[in-house]
């Protein structure tokens, strides 16, 4: 192999790095519109799943228009904040702010059975990264109508099971409150006992994800406490 001078090596690496950087930023810029659209569809689809509507990528936009009636933003005292688009609120950024300044999105939806539900977004930490989802509540603002959970990189077969319908369907009919006391829903290792309205079965082998999920539901739902109590009917 030929010997190269240091000068050559430096020039070679600089040219290589600049060329690669240019190529990658070009690709990122060109592909971004398609990627953003995908994320938006995904978000709408997750919301629909939380009210137990199964959507495909193609009909998500139509179904979203049909079932989701409105979105608005409130603060932790349950007061409406005007002029903020609920759909574009990024929960992760909100969670870094002090509680009083956080924007809390609420979506109203009416599924086929005519129930007036609210959909509330949640976000927390799993074992390897963020876990997130939507929880929909019946008009009593207490009973869970449906949930949708997803994750960034939980272990397949273990923590990743939180986004299976087998796990999610357990949440239907569970209650957040005991009268006016906030209890939340607990993820019980070894299985929740029958008739427990505040407990679901944990995922075996996915303890940390399960615990993270439990904390996520507790922390995120508690922020809506004032709103939920005020709007009960």
């Amino acid at each position: 192999m030929k010997q190269f001078s240091n000068r050559y090596i430096f020039i070679f690496s600089s040219v290589m790095v600049i060329a690669v950087a240019a190529l990658l930023s070009l690709a990122a810029t060109l592909l971004q519109p398609a990627q953003t659209r995908n994320l938006e569809i995904e978000k709408k689809r997750n919301m629909l799943e939380s009210i137990n509507v199964a959507a495909t990528r193609e009909n998500t936009a139509d179904l979203y228009g049909k079932y989701i009636k409105e979105g608005f933003v409130i603060n932790s005292r349950g007061e409406m904040i005007e002029g903020v688009d609920a759909f574009s609120v990024v929960l992760r950024n909100e969670q870094k702010k002090p509680l009083a300044e956080q924007y809390l999105p609420v979506f109203r939806a009416v599924p086929d059975d005519g129930e007036q539900v609210v959909i509330l977004p949640v976000e927390g930490k799993g074992l390897w990264g963020p876990i997130f989802g939507y929880i929909s509540l019946r008009s009593d603002m207490n009973t869970i109508y449906g949930v949708n959970f997803d994750h960034k990189g939980e272990t397949p077969g273990l923590g990743a099971e939180i986004n299976t319908s087998a796990f999610e369907s357990q949440f239907r009919g569970k209650k957040l409150y005991d009268n006016t006391d906030f209890i939340s829903v607990h993820v019980v290792k070894g299985g929740a006992r029958e008739g427990d309205v505040h407990g679901v079965d944990a995922i075996s082998g996915g303890t940390i994800t399960s615990k993270g999920l439990e904390m996520m539901i507790h922390d995120c739902m508690l922020k809506y406490n004032d709103f939920l109590l005020k709007n009960r009917n």
């Binding site: 190269f4 050559y8 790095v17 990528r57």
Partner: protein, 217 residues
């Protein structure tokens, strides 16, 4: 060297580069490289296919690029250059998947990024592309990517069939009416360790057919 220059693009020697990694010199079952990702993406056929395609593209293109520049790459920084080329290609593949095959990109999640660390790719760059012309290197890359993909697809086929009762998402066993006879899906097949067992079975099968692969001692 002059003789090689007149060689046709699909000469027997070149074709061998393409076909050998599919069997006799398979990166997974013979060289035992790239096992880690083989465990992760073989639960279902679809992600396995996409992963295979992505790896084929990355091995082929990185071999091509490195072979084209092989005379200009300073030996002292060649590993860095190889990594930059691989990482760039992988990021491009990842971006494309995110834009056009979003569902699959979600399933593959971190594993696309992990193609960068797939030993097959750097192994081929070091062992082949640094010393050969672009065209044979490209074929060698495609061949090795395909050899990896072949095993992935075979393992994924059996894991999906036995674990979920489907093939490429189509409920074959249910259509056959097997569940009515009391058959149940084997949940264990879905867990990662079972992929190792399947790979092991393939290695066993291959060695029993081709005795030249069996070590002497």
């Amino acid at each position: 060297m002059d003789i090689m220059e007149k060689e046709s693009i699909f000469s027997p020697r070149n074709l061998k580069l393409l076909t050998e990694p599919l069997g006799k010199n398979n990166p997974i079952t013979v060289q035992v490289l790239g096992i880690c990702s083989a465990l992760a993406v073989t639960v279902k056929l679809k992600p396995a296919l996409v992963m295979s395609l992505s790896v084929i593209i990355v091995t082929g293109m990185s071999n091509l690029v490195i072979a084209a520049f092989r005379k200009y790459i300073p030996e002292t920084i060649r590993i860095i250059v190889q990594l930059v080329v691989i990482a760039t290609l992988v990021i491009l593949v990842d971006q494309f998947l995110k834009a056009y095959v979003f569902d699959v990109s979600k399933q593959l999640s971190v594993f696309v990024g992990l193609i960068i660390t797939n030993c097959i790719i750097m192994g081929r760059l070091e062992a082949f592309a640094m010393a050969n012309k672009p065209w044979p290197s490209f074929l060698d890359g495609i061949g090795n990517g395909a050899g990896y993909g072949l095993i992935l697809v075979v393992v994924a086929f059996f894991r999906e069939l036995l674990g979920s009762g489907t093939v490429y998402g189509y409920p074959v066993l249910e259509k056959l009416g097997l569940f009515k006879t009391g058959y149940e899906n084997n949940g264990m097949v879905i867990l990662p360790p079972m992929a190792l067992i399947f790979v092991g079975l393939i290695i066993w099968f291959q060695r029993s057919r081709d005795k030249s692969l069996v070590e002497k001692n």
